[in-house]
Subunit: 113 residues, 2 copies
């Protein structure tokens, strides 16, 4: 998607503070963090929302979840606690329409919705 | 886990309004819903928190995510929007220590953390 900011980050056209990268996934610091730890995990493949993955993305989604848990451990928030979430469309508060998972921690988080 | 409320729901010892069940997963209505749609998805296997899954749970976690998306569609909130999330430990607001994924929608949701 030529006009997608997260595709441009995945392509290296827009800089980001990358914390993990492999062939399928990229994780980077949220530029507007809501907590001391706020990392985004995206698939490099452009999927717009959580409505888009199909059975062929099962492993990809599982890998995103495991990476979220790993990042929480690496950042030292796994024992204190954190939240892993995906917002979908307007009611969910989705702001960038490239599927992304938030890993948020480092303080006592507020209500989940 | 003999004292785990979600294991008891998975075993049928405690009633719940089940919306999906197979060999690995169970989805049921949250008894204290935070929005018009509030469904919980659990693995039948007892995992306490998001810190516990290992590589052997990759497919399980991917299936949970796909089920979340499917439930949002079935409930008619996929286009309006929803949030999929897992809370881990105290800072995340985890209340039951059996890994569970929230699917929340049906209204404009508040801040994610």
């Amino acid at each position: 998607m030529s006009d997608c900011i997260f595709c441009k980050i995945a392509d290296g056209e827009i800089p980001a503070t990358v914390v993990f990268e492999d062939d399928e996934l990229l994780a980077f610091e949220d530029v507007n963090p809501r907590a001391p730890v706020h990392v985004l995990i995206i698939p490099k493949e452009h999927l717009s929302t959580m409505n888009d993955p199909g059975p062929e993305h099962e492993t990809l989604l599982g890998r995103m979840m495991l990476l979220a848990s790993r990042i929480a451990k690496e950042r030292g928030v796994s024992e204190g606690g954190y939240r892993v979430l995906v917002n979908c469309n307007a009611d969910g508060g989705q702001e960038v329409f490239h599927l992304h998972m938030h890993v948020i921690g480092g303080r006592r988080l507020g209500p989940m919705a």
